[in-house]
Each structure stands twice: as C-alpha cells, then as structure tokens.
C-alpha cells in the first residue's frame, strides 16, 4: 500500500513505525467544586510550569527551534489568554476545561486566518495539551523513546517535539497533518531528517508496521515487498556514500566542468561552504553590511568584510553583488519614497545610480580587498533592465579597479536582449527567483499567487535559454544563482540551457553534484529541450523526468566516468 504526502528533501528511510500518543481527551465540561480563585491559581501554576519547561527546552535546542519554543512559552503566559481563562472560570468551569476552551478559541482564530497562521495553530494545541496534562498530573505528551531506531508517525509534530528528537533513533518522520511550511517540514529540512508531511492516510498506521519513507517521490510505502525494501536499502546506502564521498569539482558525466558555487549572505558561512565542496562563491549578498544602518558603512569597514570573505576563498572565484536595495529589503538612506509597487520601483542598480556615491564607495572597497587577496573577484549589478545600464555599471566598475564586471539577469527585458547585454559586459548571472516573479507577473512575497512562483515554467526556461545562447555565442560565462539551481533535476536542465556555473545554498551541493554526474552534455541538452517544449511548470518537470529516464536507460551503466 502506498500513502501520498509531501516529501521534504530527497532522502529515503526504512523501518518500523512508532505512533506518537494521540492527544488527551477533551476535558469534560462540568461545574467545578472549587471556587474560581482557587481554579485560577491552579491554571496559573500549570501555565507557569509549562512555560518554564518550554523555555528550558528552547535553551537546550538552540537555533531556530529556540525562537519557536520561546514563542510557545510566551503563549502559555499570555495575558490575553489568562483574561479569557479567568472569564470562563467565573462561569464555574474547571481549570482544565477553561484552559482547553481558551486555547481552542485562539486556535480557531489562527486556523481561520489560513496559510502560515493556520500552521501556527498546532503550536497552540501543543501548549494546551501540556498545560492540561500538567493540571491532570499526567505525563506530558512528547516524542516516544522505544529504545530502537524507528519511523515516527504523528498527527503533526510540535516544535517542542521536533527539537528534542533523538536523531540517532529517528529514521524518518511521517505526519498526517501539516503542510510543507509546517514546523515539522522546516525543522526536517534544517536537520536533514527524512520526512513526508501531510500523508493523510498515515492515520491507519500502527506501531510496528514496516514502512519506507520516500521523500524524493512524496510516498510512504506500507509493508514493502522484499524487493522494495532492498531497493530502499540501496538508495539509503547510495545517499550515505554520496554525503561521505570526497567532494569533487562539479562536472557532467562526460567530464564537462560545471563549477558548483555557494550563495552566501556574510563571510561567516565561508568555511562551512568550502567544507561542503563549494568551488567558490556565485552570489555574495552585501546587504548585511547596510541593513540596520542609518547610513552607508565606510569604505574601510566594507573593505575589512570583503577581505575576510576573499581570504576564505583564496585562488577561487567569488562573485559579489553590489547592494541590492528596494522591494523586499528597503534601506532608509537609499530609497525612502513610498512606492505603490516597490518590486517595479527604484531598486537594484536604479537606486544605486540615484546615489552613485554609495556605489562608488562599495566598488572602491571591493577593488581594494581584491588587490590585497588572492581570490578571483567578480562584481555584478542587480536588476539590470537594459543595455545602457549594463554599459554604465561595467564602465564604472572598471574605472574603480574591478577586473571582472557583470550583470544579474532578473528582468525579462534583460534576458530577451541578452546578446546585446552580454556584448556590453563580462558575464551574466541569472537570478531565477526574481526572473520568475517578473516573467509570471506574480509578487513572490504574496502567498495567494505563490503557485506562479515556479522556475520550472517554460516561459522562464525560455528566457534562461536566450541568455545561455548569447553566452555561448559571445564566449561569456552565464551563471545561475537562485533557488532553481538547488533542485537536482532543474540544475541539469539549466546546464542544458547553457548555464556554465551553478550557485546555491551549500547544503544543496552534494545532491546537485551527484545529479549532474549522471548526464552528459548531450543528455542535458535533450532533457532541457523536453522541458522547454512543455506547456506549464508541472508538465515541464514531468517531461524532464521522463527524458532523463530515457537517456539514462540508453547509457552503459557499468562505465560511469569519474
């Protein structure tokens, strides 16, 4: 039997199910034999105990889990909630019932708001359960510990559960509720736990059932056949070997190099990226230097940060994007005007041009850092929309001592005129997130149009192809920096469309490296062609998968090139 869900990541797990305890029964609505003040005292006591416990777990967990647990602790001690409880106690209810009802009413309100807020409703349920368990002097619900490795099956995991999972024992996670933005999904991603969320059919699983959790294929296989189990074991071993394999430079099966680079937002992540096999940096965002600042940092301050970064990548390529302000990241000293459509407003290179002194200082600091280090510094401008802007930025960068200057391609006009744009500059890097937003005319910050934000769309791929072709003709490098490059199959398509380097979050490097190594240059071109010919994003993804299956079926599998 197979259960459908949403897989998080690409992992596979095989093992016996352990069910997490179902929630406590709803407290009976009966009159209390205690007076309301005494019941309020009981409620306050249990709320405080649970708040302290959540706070303690947060301190132990650290990271983003700590924020979530601290937020839950604050929910337990929330003054509005306590007011609500006291009101219900005045009607003669028990503390258990009043706590239950108060949490339930807030829960309903959050669930009614939909989307992200509805996902938070589970956080509230968890706090409610803990408080009621404490009032009833029952053990708090939590992650079971059967003493052997297991696949945890739960309705939905609360942050307190995921934070305290013993990773040595948990083979995988399956949730019945919960979407791809639930805490279970977020934490599974962060900690690389194999997970399938929202598998509605998983309610029928019992502790002891053998299952395969196949995140790559969005499946849970119940009671697998010996063949299925063996295939899963093989994939688990392969993935383990992949993660442990010495990191090699990114390349296709025929040896065509495709350098794999890291996206970084500060110099802090440099060492970790190198360890995961980053061959350089494909996108270094410089906003962190400017955010929270009332005015631009000095040339000296900037130079120090850039030097630190470049030193971590001695002998390697580092592509730095000059300040990309506006739209989702406004900066008071650059763009303070209130715009109706900030994504279409004075942002990126447009804003920098208005405040050229800031751009000049940044380029000066970068050139000085380059001169003092051994890295190969490339600098690019964001949001370039036409040839004139490309020419302007390239000339200014060269004047200030930058050796390699290029542009980001995020606007369809730039992609459509890529041949003329690339003739005016040294290289291009495609920002797939913004390119998708502008091609589909769908605000990437807006949940209601989130389904449009899919880089697999053939309209987006077609623009990438136009840039790839121009790059090939003019001998100019074309990189990809954006979430699209982190998708192992889409990465192959992008290379087939003419991308010469791929840049992504360092955690995606191993899977993309392995995916590229399966296909030759000709394969990648054939797969890309299949995706380009599709009518929509989902169809393109399926077409690429089918094409990949048929090209690899024709390969001599015994002779992989290393």
């Amino acid at each position: 039997m197979e259960l459908q869900g949403t897989g998080i990541g690409l992992g596979v797990a095989l093992g016996p199910v352990v069910r997490m305890a179902e929630p406590l029964p709803e407290p009976v609505d009966r009159p209390s034999h205690l007076d309301p003040d005494r019941e309020a005292e009981r409620a306050r006591g249990s709320l405080a105990v649970v708040a302290a416990e959540l706070q303690g777990r947060g301190a132990k967990a650290g990271g983003s889990a700590q924020d979530v647990l601290e937020a839950q602790a604050m929910m337990a001690e929330d003054p509005t909630l306590m007011d609500d409880i006291v009101k219900r106690l005045a009607d003669g209810k028990t503390a258990e019932r009043a706590v239950f009802e108060a949490f339930a009413s807030f829960r309903e309100m959050l669930a009614g708001m939909g989307g992200y807020m509805a996902e938070r409703a589970a956080d509230l349920d968890d706090v409610s359960q803990r408080v009621i368990a404490n009032l009833l002097k029952l053990p708090a619900p939590g992650v079971p510990n059967p003493g052997h490795p297991f696949v945890l099956v739960a309705r939905d995991l609360a942050p307190a559960d995921t934070a305290t999972l013993d990773l040595d024992q948990v083979l995988g996670l399956v949730t019945i509720d919960g979407g791809p933005t639930s805490h279970t999904a977020i934490l599974a991603r962060e900690k690389s736990i194999v997970a399938v969320v929202g598998a509605t059919g998983a309610g029928q699983l019992d502790s002891g059932d053998q299952v395969i959790v196949d995140a790559e294929n969005d499946l849970v296989i119940v009671g697998p056949s010996p063949d299925q189990a063996a295939a899963a074991q093989e994939r688990i071993a392969e993935r383990k070997a992949r993660a442990a394999a010495p990191v090699t430079p990114g390349a296709l099966a025929d040896g065509t190099p495709v350098p794999l680079l890291a996206n970084l937002g500060s110099a802090d992540g440099a060492a970790a990226a190198v360890e995961l096999g980053a061959e350089g940096v494909g996108l270094f965002r410089t906003e962190f230097l400017f955010l929270d600042a009332q005015q631009a940092p000095t040339v000296r301050e900037q130079q120090e940060q850039y030097t630190r970064l470049l030193n971590a990548f001695a002998g390697k390529k580092v592509v730095v994007r000059v300040l990309d302000a506006g739209a989702d990241k406004p900066l008071s000293f650059l763009n303070d005007a209130d715009e109706e459509n900030p994504a279409l407003g004075l942002r990126g290179i447009r804003a920098l041009r208005e405040s050229e002194a800031i751009l000049r200082e940044q380029l000066t600091a970068l050139a000085a850092a380059d001169a003092a280090t051994d890295a190969d510094l490339w600098v690019m401008a964001p949001m370039v929309a036409n040839v004139e802007e490309a020419r302007y930025f390239t000339a200014l960068a060269k004047e200030l001592g930058i050796r390699t200057a290029g542009v980001m391609i995020e606007v369809p006009s730039a992609a459509l005129l890529a041949d003329r744009l690339l003739a005016a500059t040294d290289f291009a890097s495609i920002g797939t997130n913004d390119l998708t937003q502008y091609t589909m005319a769908a605000d990437r910050m807006l949940g209601t149009v989130a389904t449009f934000q899919n880089p697999w769309h053939p309209a987006v791929l077609s623009l990438v192809a136009s840039v790839g072709e121009a790059g090939r003709e003019l001998g100019r490098p074309v990189g990809i920096c954006g979430e699209a490059a982190a998708d192992p199959m889409l990465a192959v398509v992008l290379v087939g469309l003419g991308a010469t380097t791929l840049s992504m979050s360092p955690s995606a490097l191993a899977d993309v490296r392995a995916s590229l190594a399966r296909y030759t240059k000709d394969d990648a071109i054939a797969i890309a062609r299949a995706a380009l010919a599709a009518e929509g994003a989902a169809e393109a993804q399926q077409a690429a998968k089918d094409a990949a299956g048929s090209v690899t079926a024709g390969h001599d599998v015994s002779a992989p090139q290393s």
């Binding site: 937020a71 604050m74 929330d78 509005t80 909630l81 807030f106 807020m117 938070r120 989702d328 990241k329």
Partner: protein, 88 residues
C-alpha cells in the same frame, strides 16, 4: 501617553520570530503598550496571541501607544524593532 505610526519592515510580517521579539520587548518595557493595525482597535502589545491574531503583514502600517515609564525611549525602541527586517 505617546503614539507613533510605523510601517512593518519584517518580510514575514509580524508573525513568529518578529512577533516574539516585539512582544517580549513590550512586556519587558514595564509600560502599557498597545498596537493597532491600520484602522483596527488597539490590543495589548505584551500579548503574543493578541499580536499575531491581528495578521499584520510586511508593509502594513500599525499605530503604537506607550503609557507609563520612560515612554519616549520605549516607543523609540519598539518602533525600531517593527521597522527592521529580522528575517533578512
């Protein structure tokens, strides 16, 4: 009592972590702080449930009032928290 209207800088709105940071700061200020979303009625800013159930998103304008204690300093600090992008 002092009052100020401010635009939300956090790209995820006043949910999750930004809401936690803001509510914590309001609770620790010792002053009575309220927050009202554009035209809505003010709620207790020290209540994380009241704050997140307002559904305040990136770019929304909210009005803060601070009553008691070192009003101006508290208001200044809270305005800064709200206008910063913590998810950057």
């Amino acid at each position: 009592m002092v009052e100020r209207t401010v635009q939300i800088g956090s790209s995820h709105g006043l949910h999750a972590r930004p809401a936690k940071l803001f509510t914590q700061a309001a609770a620790e200020s010792g002053a009575q702080v309220t927050i009202a979303k554009d035209g809505g009625s003010p709620v207790n800013a020290a209540s994380i449930l009241a704050v997140i159930s307002q559904g305040i998103d990136h770019g929304d304008t909210v009005t803060l009032t601070v009553d008691g204690g070192d009003e101006d300093a508290v208001l200044e600090r809270l305005v800064e928290l709200l206008s910063t992008d913590h998810d950057g």
